[in-house]
Structure formats: C-alpha cells, structure tokens
Amino acid sequence: MTNTLTVFKKEFRTYFASPMGYIYITVFLVATNWLFLRGFFLINQASLRGFFGVLPWIFLLFVPAVTMRLWAEERKVGTAEVLMTLPLRDHEIVLGKFLASLAFVAISLALTLVLPITTAIIGSPDTGSIIGGYIGALLLGAAYLAIGIFASGLTENQIVAFIVGIAICFVLLVLGENIVLFTLPTPLVPVFEFLGLGAHFRSISRGVLDSRDIVYYLSVVVLFLYLNLRTLENQR
C-alpha cells in the first residue's frame, strides 16, 4: 500500500510539474462549459442533463489524453527500466498510476462544480441526479482511464497510445448506443446495452444508484488494469 502511494505521489506531481496538466484542465473546462451553456438558456431549465449528456463524448477525447503518457513515456525515455527495477511489484505500480490519473480526472470534474452551483442559484435543480451524475462521471472516467493505461502500455508512442485508447473507449461506448442497438435483433439489444459504457452512466445520472452499474464499471477497471499487467509481463 505504501508502495502504491509512493508511485501515486510521483505520478500525480508529474501532472502539475509541466504545463500539460494545466492545459488539459483548461481545455476540459472550456469545452464542458461551452457545450453546457450553449443550450442552457435556450432550454430554460435548471438541469444538468445537457452537461451529463455530452460528458461521455468529451471524456472520450480527454481521458485517453490524460493516460497516454503513463507507460509510453516511461518506455520511450527508458525510465521504465529504473521504475521496474525498484523493489516494487508491478500491480503496485499500475495501481499507483491509475489512482493518480483518477485523482487528476476527479480534480477536473470538481472544477466543473461551478455549473451545478450556478444552476442551483438561478433555479432549483434535482440534487439527487446531480450527485448521481458526478458519481457516474467518476466511474465512467475510471473505466476510460483503465482502458487508456492499457493502451499506453502497448506502445512507446504517446500518439499511438492516445488513438488506440480512444478507439477502444469508442467501441465500448458506442456498443450500447442507439446507433448500434437499432441494427441488432431484438433479443441482443439488452445484452449490448449492458455491455456499453454509456447506458450505466445514464442510469446513474438519473439519480438511481444501482449496484449493477457500479459493479459493471469496477469490472471494466479491473479487467483493463489486469490486461495492462499482462502486457507488462510479456514485455519482460
């Protein structure tokens, strides 16, 4: 546990050691605020549904950018050789990296809390669905992050890691969306909807905290972190 914490601290600091971290957060905030406020006054409802509606798509670009560096950079610069000859177990390193990126995404999300606060001042939004929305966003983000770390472990090129990360997230997201569901025979629809990353987020952000949704996201996280571990083993 202390080893994981050591890796966590190192990775988390690295986000803010260069301008990259600040640039990511700025771009993320500008994008979410703009997309949210664009329609906010037209609809004239004190609700964050629009915000949570676009979030899975913004995350699709934002989250793999947060994780692309994590392994690709280590391998390119060669620091992986130092990191992986320290007396740390692979899973401690992977978990430390994952938690650091999760903390970074959590901070980015926390900075969007301006939106619900503003909404609460000018109207009376449904607090339950906002809290659910943020919990769901964090879980969705965690799933994307695990996928992104896995993608980063596959290559030493950050851009490749970024694109592969987006590709896997996109497939898993679109799997449960209407575009795909329409084309499927009826018995398969609930299966694909369950497998997709988006449906669980929608149900949580309605304010319904179902254990199935939480278990789903946690399984995606565990699966891809495990796959990341296996790739590291194969590279040894």
Partner: protein
C-alpha cells in the same frame, strides 16, 4: 554474490544471450566487455529482474531472480545505460521518490538524499528540473539513484559513456572507491576502462561468453599465441632453410631489409608454443649470433579484437544482405 547459470534470452528469432554462466565474488569489480549489441545490457537487465530469462537462472546475494525478484532488486543498485531520468522532476524530488520506493521513509529519507547530494556533488542543482541538466550532472543523478539505499551490489551499464575525460576519471575513481566495499558489475566497450577499474573481466560476443580472467591473464594468454621477434647474424639462405625445416615454427617472415648479415625475423610458434628457447638453441648450434630476441606484448585491444573478430565479419555481411532487398 552473483551467480549466473546458463542464462538464455531470445527476442523473436534473435538470441540476445546464449547460455551465459559466470560468478562475481563479493568485493570484486567485474568488467563486462563486448562490442555493442553483444548482450551485455540484456544480461544486466536479467540480473536486475527487468527482463525474465527464457531459461537458466541466477542468484543475486543469495536470492533467486525468478523466485524472489523483489529481494534481488532491494540489494542491487542499477544504473541503466545513458541514465534515463524523469525530465519533469527536480533532482531532489526524484531522489525523494527513489528513496521512498526503496523503503527509506520518514527521517531516514532526508538524510539519505542529503548524503547522496553530497557524495555526487549535486548541491548546486537540487532544485533544478532534471531535463535542464547537462550530461555529466544527469549521470551523477543516475549514480545517486543507484547508491541511495547503500546496496551491496552495483550493476552499472556503461557508466562513463557520453562523459568528458574529466568526468570519466571522476566516475572511475568513484567506482574504484565503491569497489572496495561493494560488489560491482560494470559493462563497457572501452578497454582502458577495464584495466583502470576492474579486478576481473568477462568478454562476451554475440550473446556468448568468449573469455574471462584478469586483464593480465587475458593478455598473457593471448601473447602466448603471439609472435616472437628475433635478429640473427648469419647467412640468410641457411637461416631460411633451417627455419623452414623446423617443426616448431608455424610461419615466419622477414621484417624490413637485412643490414649486412643481420636479419630481423618475426615468427609464430606451432600450436601456440613459446619458441624463444628453441630459437636460442638453434642459433647456438649453428654458430650464428643473436642480436635480439623478444616476445611481442599483446595489448588488451588486440585480445579483444581477436576474440570478437569473427562477429564483426558476420555482422558486416548481415548488414549488407539486409540492405540489398531495399
């Protein structure tokens, strides 16, 4: 302290390390020598548990690299080639991270980091980001990383590559000093470095071990197969025919022009035997006189070249055949 047995590592079709066994005794400074791409780095990566050997094993400080990789890593200080570092971190942050990861926490950590900054003379740059440091400073930060937990065993991959002559001397002296109490395995392709720092050396080529011994042993061994130079005063035709008939001469030729009846010859003994005495006896029985007689000293460079020569020819051939299809 280190005992490697039959290590094998393949990368796809290429065999990077082929059945290498060796031991490093406690307190020894072992030089790992070989041309670039001989498998030095791969062997070191196996010993530090960065890579896993396909077959064979090694024990480091009594721990097996397959069974207890964490215990092995605890006891090793490893400096990878070109000292890769986190460029975004400051020197002191980096050393703090390494210390913590090495299990040096709380009170001990600050002391350890301060000690390393002292030992490797990093005082002026502790708050700078590593990316802004010069090559020499980066190497020192790398060494600080290697030494911070006071390991019993040091594995240094080309510790002086890319440094200027002053820095090379500085690092060599540091290694010598460390070698007094620690077991050191260092790789290099620079020969004077071996004679300057190592008590024993191993030469590997194409993933295979081709020779081992002290630098003196290896050059002695090579000079036994070396040549003898002799100057004889006497009639040249008779000398020529006698040497051609002698069974202990493998081949010979004249060096330079004859000075009157003084002839200088270079000879090689058959089956590597030392022919100085044979020569002397022949000269005496024939009634010629001997002006000089000495065995040519073989430098480490020549030993190295001779042992790794076959590889160079092959590599050159391979390179050519690789270029052709394009």
């Amino acid at each position: 302290m280190i005992e490697a047995t039959n290590l094998v590592k393949r990368f796809g079709p290429t065999v990077a390390v082929n059945d290498i066994s060796f031991t490093v005794a406690k307190g020894e400074v072992l030089g790992f020598l070989g041309p670039n791409g001989a498998g030095k780095t791969t062997t070191m990566r196996i010993l530090t548990c960065f890579l896993v050997a396909d077959s064979g094993t090694a024990t480091v400080a009594g721990y097996d690299i397959h069974e207890d990789p964490i215990e092995v890593r605890r006891r090793i200080g490893y400096l990878p080639e070109t000292a890769p570092l986190y460029n975004d971190m400051t020197v002191v942050d980096y050393l703090n991270f390494i210390a913590e990861a090495r299990g040096i926490r709380n009170g001990g950590r600050k002391a350890a980091v301060d000690r390393m900054i002292e030992v490797t003379s990093l005082k002026g740059v502790t708050k700078q980001s590593i990316g802004s440091l010069s090559r020499g400073y980066r190497q020192r930060v790398g060494l600080a990383q290697t030494l911070i937990h006071d390991p019993e065993i040091l594995i240094l991959d080309e510790p002086t590559s890319g440094l200027d002559p002053n820095q090379i001397i500085e690092i060599r002296e540091l290694i010598k000093r460390l070698g007094e109490e620690k077991t050191v395995l260092l790789s290099t392709h620079i020969l004077p470095e071996v004679s300057a720092t190592c008590s024993r050396m191993i030469i590997i080529d194409q993933g295979e071990l081709v020779a081992s011994g002290t630098p003196e042993e290896l050059s002695n061994q090579a000079s036994r197969e070396g040549t003898t130079v002799v100057s004889i005063r006497g009639p040249l035709p008779e000398i020529t025919s006698t040497l051609a008939a002698a069974p202990w001469v493998a081949d010979w030729h004249q060096v330079g022009e004859s000075l009157g009846d003084l002839h200088r010859l270079r000879l090689r003994g058959s089956e590597g035997r030392d022919i100085a005495e044979d020569l002397f006896r022949t000269v005496v029985t024939k009634g010629w006189s001997l002006a000089e007689l000495y065995r040519e000293q073989v430098s480490l460079e020549e030993v190295f070249l001779r042992l790794t020569m076959s590889e160079r020819g092959d590599a050159a051939k391979e390179e050519r055949s690789e270029v052709n299809p394009e």
